[in-house]
Symmetry: C2
Subunit: 209 residues, 2 copies
Amino acid sequence: MGRPRNFDESEVLRAARDQFWSTGYAAARVDDIAAATGLGKGSLYGAFGDKHQLFLRTYADHCAGLVEAVRRALDGPDTDAYERLRAHVMKVAEATASDVCLRGCLLAKGAAELSEQDRAVAATARRTFTAIEELITSCVAGAQRAGDIAPDADPARLAGLLLAVLRGIEALGKGGSSPDSLRAIAETALAVLPRPQSDQDRSARPQSG
Amino acid sequence: MGRPRNFDESEVLRAARDQFWSTGYAAARVDDIAAATGLGKGSLYGAFGDKHQLFLRTYADHCAGLVEAVRRALDGPDTDAYERLRAHVMKVAEATASDVCLRGCLLAKGAAELSEQDRAVAATARRTFTAIEELITSCVAGAQRAGDIAPDADPARLAGLLLAVLRGIEALGKGGSSPDSLRAIAETALAVLPRPQSDQDRSARPQSG
DNA sequence: TACGTTCTGGACGAGACAGTCAAGAAAGTC
DNA sequence: GACTTTCTTGACTGTCTCGTCCAGAACGTA
């Protein structure tokens, strides 16, 4: 059956992804990727095709992983849906704030660099955004059923807004916005979500100071 | 006094910017930039230094122009502050939605590609974000004085949220989100802004359907 | 052990690219 | 008109990088 492969595919893909992630697609050198993975270029080309194919593969895998992570963070019973949503939004802000090297999110970085000229990248990015938005929509709807979101609000619209805020936090983090300001954005986004009337309406307002 | 320059600096910078804008920094070729500007490479290097310096110049100019455009859109009397804010948010959504080629915003594209490795780019992006946020803060404060925003809300926090939403819309547009969904995000962001108590509270809620 | 097959690794070639340079052009000055 | 200075042009160079290729290694099979 021939010589078996001497490497773990997922490890190689992760190393390759990290190269693309830190330098971007165009600036990533195949030789560097080979060095980072420990493979010779022949093996790399034999197993994954050329640089572009390798990128598409790592990008798609990474995006799928992202969606799965969001699913794990947001899935669960309605009772805790609002709390899970809150925790997730804050976690994204914290993660972006603590990304000292400004590497940011590969999803956004890849889309920014390539979506104009590469339909496959644009399609993957779009699918990823849509999938995450659906997960947020479900979570908001759960919170609504549990009485933590105003009953007359549209979960899909709130989810769209929250997704935009999350992507915006990511974008601002790339510019080096302070951790505090990113946290403030996340808190404010949660604070303006419409709560049921029964709550003090004030609690839905960002406080001064 | 020697031979005078044969080109208009701002036109050359604009042409160079467009090259960086459509391909990204790393993938932009100096030969293409020269061709686009109509200059020989010698003139380009003589006038603007190397590729990196040229990019920094176009990036800084572009960001300064962006801030000026936002200032023009948001400056004015308190009476119309809320309306100007609303119009601006909707305009960004429309502009992103109609950006068929997914070129996106050079500010975000440059920051995504280079801020990790280039402090000057990160600093320019950060300054730009800060400047825009301050303009939004002023506008929100004006709207608050005019009675269009809840008096107990914190304009700076709302401005941070709005900036994040605007950047998020831009990021989602890069993935090819539908014009309708981008518009919906903008509308929802405006709808969740806390309005004064005197208004029907319902009007501050995104409607179902 | 001999053989076919698949993987490995790195040398190699072709092309692309950034930046330089030298010869000449266009201005001002005397 | 001679001279100085600055700008212009595009050919040129050296370097970098992608992708290929091939000799050999590591497996299963007979």
